[in-house]
């Protein structure tokens, strides 16, 4: 069930009234049933994998919780009767058991994700190496598996670290795992926030409903008016790396930047809006990312929940892990600065490699991830240089011109890296990117070039207006959230804004027969 489909709107139109009409204590059950319908719509295989995840994570989290309780009780009992060493031995034994449970559950769930994500690629690789028939070519990601696997793994690690207690009701864990708006393209959520909010009773609130409708409509607006329109041109450019080179690549970079932003943020707007409609607050995933002044700032503002997840569950534990500490110690002879950098740099590169790998099995994603890490580390290294520059030219550094320059620089840099996302091979991506510096063909771009990409002048004009509208709204948003300001101006005004959004989507959106009901780009990750 695609977000931009009548089926989804009908599903929502039935669910929301039912959700608020049933007694509050069974609202979560209605939601769970709705999740079940949504998941089954996407395919039974997906439902099976999700059931495996829920069952295994529930069993593991309950097992770990029980072991921890037993550990506390035993240690309390042993406090007076046993020596410190004996108590430590018991603690270590139980901790080892907990770790075993954790590892087994992680292997199972990450293994499923890995198999679905990389199975086909590994099959082709082995066929190439050993001349056998490629296996696993039918393997494909099921709906939302990348997102719910990360959310549930986060929950499992939180339980393991005793940050949160294990959920006692497996159905409530299933509710968290399968919450339908999150399955399309995330965000990656935490059990202690979204998982708990899903279980709470919610009363209908007209203003909240209107506010949520505005957010959903704005999401569809971005997706159907801008993203799906620009995607046609982006796909056309990416499909022929040999034909579209030079300045076409610059156009492609800009179009893809706008397209991906509209697509991903549009989808997340719908997700958050649907959650809000049901009274569930979902974490924000973006904070005007294209206003960032550096790549590291950009990654703090783009796909925030993925970055947070990697930071919380991979980067921090890894950089302070014993092997890293040992490595730091062993490299001290090269200087304190160097030894301090080693664990940070290694952890950064590893996290970015994993981030790339999470996005897809193609080598381009891995290279993209690592390059992101390298750029971030280089920026870190250049910080003293920047500091000296700011010290030397304080007026220039504080000027709007310089701020604008850093923003544009960041957008161009991240768009350059994203070229890897567009092509099937690293070679094509690099070759296309570097052709920008060797081939000057602006005349070809504007004399029929961009018209050959499947979009008319009308489409470009609409997309351009759409991008301008998104930019203008982001500018306004810097002074605070827009929706509360709209709602504050009264119900009639809010309804008018909503109707204008819906009306413009109906007139200028790309939907219906003859257009592909386009899935969100991040849904494939």
């Amino acid at each position: 069930m695609l977000f931009p489909s009548w089926a989804f709107l009908l599903f929502l139109a039935v669910l929301v009234p039912v959700y608020y009409l049933v007694p509050k204590r069974i609202q979560w059950i209605v939601l769970l049933l709705a999740n079940g319908v949504f998941v089954c719509f996407a395919g039974i295989l997906g439902a099976v994998f999700m059931a495996v995840t829920v069952a295994s994570v529930y069993a593991a989290s309950r097992g770990m919780d029980t072991l921890f309780t037993r550990q506390r009780e035993m240690l309390a009992e042993m406090k007076t009767t046993h020596t410190k060493e004996e108590r430590k031995a018991v603690r270590l034994r139980l901790e080892k058991k907990r770790r075993l449970i954790l590892v087994a559950c992680l292997v199972l769930n990450v293994g499923i994700l890995f198999a679905l994500k990389y199975g086909a690629m590994l099959g082709r690789l082995s066929a190439g190496l050993f001349g056998t028939k490629p296996f696993g070519q039918d393997l494909a990601l099921t709906m939302g598996i990348s997102f719910y696997t990360f959310s549930t793994v986060g929950y499992l690690l939180d339980v393991y670290r005793e940050t949160i207690p294990a959920e006692r009701n497996p159905l409530k864990l299933a509710l968290f795992t399968s919450f339908f708006p999150l399955l399309v393209q995330g965000p990656i959520t935490r059990f202690e926030t979204v998982g708990k909010a899903l279980q709470e009773p919610h009363a209908f609130d007209g203003r909240r409903f209107l506010s949520a409708s505005l957010r959903i409509a704005w999401g569809y607006w971005k997706k159907l008016i801008v993203a799906d329109r620009l995607l046609v041109a982006v796909k056309a450019l990416c499909a022929k790396p040999a034909a579209y080179r030079g300045d076409f690549i610059f156009v492609e970079m800009l179009l893809y930047a706008a397209c991906l932003y509209a697509d991903f943020t549009g989808g997340i707007d719908i997700t958050i809006g649907v959650g809000e409609m049901l009274g569930v607050r979902i974490e924000e995933n973006f904070l005007r990312p294209y206003f960032s002044k550096s790549i590291s700032e950009y990654w703090r503002r783009w796909h925030i929940t993925l970055g947070e997840w990697f930071k919380r569950y991979v980067y921090y534990p890894l950089s302070v892990s014993k092997p890293m500490r040992d490595l730091s110690k062993n490299t001290r002879r090269f200087g304190v600065g160097f030894s301090r950098r080693v664990p940070v740099y290694l952890a950064t590169i590893l996290v970015w490699a994993l981030t790339g790998a999470w996005h897809g099995s193609n080598l381009t994603f891995l290279v993209w991830g690592i390059l992101n890490g390298v750029v971030i580390l280089l920026s870190e290294e250049m910080k003293p240089l920047y500091a000296r520059f700011h010290q030397r030219f304080p007026k220039l550094s504080a000027s709007a011109f310089y701020r604008g320059f850093t923003v544009i620089r960041t957008v161009l840099l991240l768009s350059s890296l994203r070229i890897l996302d567009c092509y099937g091979t690293v070679r094509d991506a690099f070759s296309s990117f570097f052709s920008m510096f060797t081939t000057w063909n602006w005349s070809a771009v504007f004399r029929g070039g961009i018209q050959s990409l499947g979009l008319s002048h009308y489409d470009y004009a609409i997309a351009f207006c759409g991008v301008l509208a998104m930019f203008a709204l982001s500018m306004v948003q810097r002074k605070g959230a827009i929706r509360p300001r709209i709602i504050k101006r009264g119900t009639v005004f809010s309804v008018c804004v909503l109707l204008v959004l819906i009306g413009t989507i109906l007139i200028f959106g790309r939907y219906g027969f003859g257009f592909d009901a386009s899935q969100f780009i991040y849904n494939r990750f």
């Binding site: 009548w6 008319s456 002048h457 009308y458 489409d459 609409i462 009264g490 119900t491 009639v492 309804v495 008018c496 109707l499 204008v500 819906i502 009306g503 109906l506 007139i507 200028f508 959106g509 790309r510 939907y511 219906g512 027969f513 003859g514 257009f515």
Partner: protein, 343 residues
């Protein structure tokens, strides 16, 4: 309380304004089928009729380009209308008939059987040409359900903006001219005139299934049942076009069906000499369709059969019909002259 009332009125007004604007845009972006692609205008034109009809033709281009209601009236006083459309398939014809039977009961329904070769919906474009002009009702909903090809959704037939919104980037003068006006008729009681001459040549050979699809035969049965329920005589015809080929096996199947239901079936291809059709002068596209000269010959021949076999009344001399057909004949002759001069 007062404030709440204002809010409700405000919301209602906003909705009305928005809805009105969307209707206006919907009308603007919907194809007008008036100056170009006029086949799409035929379905809706029927609702402008002020007189009833003794004969109703249903079917594809082999009816709306092959029979001239003007000739039928002027020669025999037979009142008729052609509810035909481009690639009007069996289920389209069924629902066109069901729709027409709500407002009139003709004495004879003539159905051209060529479209029975298609058992599945063929193309969204032809569905639109046939269904866009249909008035809202159970017949239209049934026709939509039966006609949709893969990827289509019924909503877009009911709310045309959902289908045609993208035309806003390609609007023409025609769209503005007929934004709020339907414009005059483009046909002559459903007949679309062509005066060009392009003689028939060799007929291309094609592979075919000797049996007509079960689906279309089921719809033919539905048409026969509908006529029977309404006390209307059904006549099956195969118009005299030589291409697309009407195969002998299909002909036998239809003949057997007609026999089993006690219906008349005329395969006019065999009667071309008798009718006087000359495929070197009476076709405008190498034997696929008749030009106006062929259509008039065919109408003269078939009118005699209709009158003798079904005892249709000669309405000439009845003021209402005479006035209607006099104006139609004048427009018809003018158009014939205009088109002939253009050739």
């Amino acid at each position: 309380m007062k404030r709440k009332g204002f809010t409700v009125i405000g919301i209602l007004l906003s909705c009305i304004v928005c809805f009105g604007a969307l209707i206006a845009v919907s009308r603007l972006t919907a194809p007008k089928y008036h100056d170009s692609l006029i086949d799409g205008h035929l379905t809706g034109e029927y609702y402008g009729e002020t007189t009833d009809h003794d004969v109703l033709f249903i079917g594809d281009c082999e009816v709306f380009e092959h029979f001239s209601p003007v000739t039928l009236y002027n020669e025999y006083g037979i009142t008729s209308y052609i509810r035909g459309g481009a690639q009007q398939l069996a289920w389209h014809s069924y629902y066109m008939l069901e729709d027409a039977l709500k407002t009139e009961t003709p004495k004879v329904v003539v159905f051209n059987v060529l479209a029975l070769k298609y058992g599945e919906p063929q193309s969204e474009a032809y569905n639109r040409l046939n269904l866009d002009g249909m008035r809202m009702g159970a017949a239209k909903l049934g026709a939509i359900r039966a006609s949709m090809t893969e990827g289509e959704d019924a909503m877009s037939y009911l709310f045309p903006l959902l289908r045609y919104h993208d035309r806003i980037g390609e609007l023409t003068r025609e769209d503005f001219t007929y934004w709020f006006s339907k414009g005059g008729p483009v046909s002559f009681k459903g007949y679309v005139m062509h005066t060009g001459v392009d003689p028939a040549t060799e007929v291309p050979q094609e592979n075919y299934d000797p049996k007509l699809p079960e689906t279309s035969m089921a719809w033919l049965t539905e048409i026969a049942d509908l006529c029977e329920e309404n006390g209307v005589a059904l006549v099956l015809i195969k118009s005299p076009s030589i291409y697309p080929v009407w195969h002998a096996e299909w002909d036998e199947e239809i003949a057997a069906f007609a026999k089993s239901r006690g219906l008349r079936y005329d395969n006019m291809i065999a009667e071309n000499d008798l009718i006087g059709i000359d495929m070197t002068t009476d076709t405008y596209d190498q034997g696929q369709h008749l030009n106006v000269f062929g259509a008039e010959k065919l109408s003269r021949w078939f009118g005699a059969i209709l009158q003798s076999e079904y005892g249709l009344k000669d309405h000439r001399g009845e003021a209402a019909y005479d006035a209607d057909y006099a104006a139609l004949t004048e427009r018809y002759e003018n158009e014939k002259q205009r088109l002939s001069e253009g050739n």
